[in-house]
Amino acid sequence: MSTTTMTHDEAHHHDAPTGWRRWLFSTNHKDIGTLYLLFALTMMFLGGASAMVIRAELFMPGIQLVDPDLYNNLVTNHALIMIFGAVMPAAAGLANWMIPMMIGAPDMALPRLNNLSFWILPAAATMLVLSFVVPFFPGGGTQINTGWTLYPPLSTQVGMSMDFLIFAIHLLGISSVLASINIIVTLLNMRAPGMKMLKMPMFCWTWLVTAFLLILVVPVLAGGVTMLLFDRHFGTSFFDAAGGGDPVLFQHLFWFFGHPEVYILLLPSIGVLSHVIPAFSRKPLFGYNSMVGAMLAVATIGMVVWAHHQYTVGMSLGAVTYFMIGTIIISIPVGLMIFNFIATMWRGAMTFETPMLFAVGIVLMFTFGGLSGVMLAVVPADMQYHDSMFVVAHFHYVLMPGAVFGLFAGVFYWLPKWTGHMYDERLGKLFFWTNVIGFNITFFPQHFLGLAGMPRRIIDYNVMFTEFNVVSSIGAMVFGLSHLLLLYIVIKTIRGGKKAESRSWEGAKGLEWELDSPPAFHTWTVAPQIK
C-alpha cells in the first residue's frame, strides 16, 4: 500500500494529559489499547494461577490440595478468566492500538464509548473474582462447580456466587458489544480516503468480522443467563423440567454463543498472522480476497453448527448428521487460510524473529488442533471422546496456538512500534521455545489420557493415568513460569533498548509503519491519501 506524503507529527505529544486522569478519562485509542493489554496481562496471570493449582492437584492421583467443589470452581474460573478476561481484552487492545493507525484514522469513531467499554471491564472482573471468593465466607453458599458452560440444573442450585457470575457475564457482554459497535463504525466510516474495503489491512478485516460475530452471539448468551437468573430467583421454569421447561434449551443457547466464540478468539490472531507472515517472508499475503471470503465463510458456517458440542444429549439422527457435516465443512475455509499462509511463506526470503517463530508455530500446532477437531466432529467417535481429557487437549491446541500465540506474535511484532524500542530478540526466542515446549509437554499427553478414558472436570483419577499426568503437570509448570519471561521482556522493552525505526521490520507494510516509533499521542490528524 502506498501513500502520499503525510504531516502526521503536527500534534506530536501536544495535549497529552498526565497522571491518573490520563488513564481514567482517556479517550485516546493508544492509551485505551494499553489499558486493555495491561488488563489482559493481569487476568492472564490470575487465570494462569488457577491452571497451576489444577495441574498441581492432578500431578498425582488422589485428592491433595483442594476439595472437589473448589477444584471445579477453579476449572470454571480458569476458563472464564482466560476467555473473557485475558484473550478477548488482549485482542481488543491490539484492535484499539492498531486499527486507527492502520486505516489512517485519528482515533476510534467514538472515543468516549471506547473509554466506557474498557472501564466496564474492571467492574466485571471484580464480579467474576467475587463469584470465586464469596463461597469462602460464612453464608456465601456453594462453589460454582458447573464449569464455564453453566449448565442447569446444577447452575440453578449453586449458591449466590452464581448470581455474581451472571452479572459479571452481563457486564462483560455489554463491554464487548460496545467495543464491537465502535470497531465496526470506525472501520466502515473512518477509513482514509481511497482505502476501499478490499484494500483494508487483513487485521482490520478480521476484526470487522469478529465484531459482527460478537454483536450476533453475545446478546444470546446474555438472554440465556438472564433466563437462568429468572429460574433461580423469579419462579420461572425455562430450564426446569418440573415446570415444563428443559435444561437442554440452555445448552443450545449457550453453544449458539459458545461455538462462534471460538472464532471470535481465533480471527484477530489470524489477522495478526496475515501481517507477520508476509513481513518476515518479504512477500505480499497470498490470496487476500480468498482470505476475506474464507473468513466470512467461517463466520457464517460457524454460526450454525453449535450443537456439535452436545451430541451426547440425545438429538435426532437428522440433527446430529446436519451438525456433523456442517462442522466438517468448516475445515475447508480454515484449511484455505492455512494454505494461504503456507503459500505466502513459499519461496519467501524468510527470517525467524520471534513473531515469525510464533507464526510458524501457530500454523503447525493450530492445524494439529484442527485435525483433532475433525475427529470430535464425527458423531460416533465423539460419543467416545466426549467429556474426556482428549477434548481438553483439543481445545487447548486450538486456542493456545490459534488465539494466544497469535496475540503473542502481535505483541512482539508491534512492541517496537508501541514503545519505540526493539525488544531483546534473544530473550524473545527463549520465551518462544520455553513457551512452546512447555505447552506441548502439557497438552500432548492429554490426548492419550482422554483416549484411554480419563474424564475431564474430575479431581481424582485412576492410577493407570499417573505417568502422563505427571508429565503434563511438569510441562504446565514450565509453561506457566515461562510467562514471567514475557512480563520481563515487555517491562525491559518499555524501559529502554535499541531505538526502533519507524518501519521496525524490513518487510513490514502498511500505514502504521509510516508513523514514528513510538507514534505521537495524536496521529493521522491529516488523513493520508491511499493511491
Binding site: A11, H14, D15, P106, A109, L110, L113, V177, S180, I181, N182, I184, V185, L188, N189, M190, A192, P193, I215, L216, V218, P219, V220, A222, G223, G224, M227, F238, D246, V248, L249, H252, L253, F256, M315, S316, A319, H522, W524, T525, V526, A527
Partner: protein, 50 residues
C-alpha cells in the same frame, strides 16, 4: 488537539447514527433470543416426539 480535517460534523452524525443502528440490532437479538429459542426448541421437541 485540533479537530482532524476529516472529522466533520457530518461524519460525526453518521457515526452516531450507525452506533444506534447497531445497538438496536444487538438489543433486538437479545430480546428475541427468549421467544426464538424457546419456540424453536418446542418445534424440534414436538417433531422428535412424532
Amino acid at each position: 488537539m485540533a479537530i482532524p480535517e476529516h472529522q466533520t460534523p457530518e461524519l460525526r452524525r453518521k457515526n452516531i447514527r450507525m452506533v444506534w443502528l447497531l445497538a438496536g440490532f444487538a438489543l433486538f437479538i437479545f430480546l428475541t433470543s427468549f421467544p426464538f429459542w424457546t419456540g424453536l426448541f418446542r418445534i424440534v421437541g414436538d417433531q422428535a416426539a412424532g
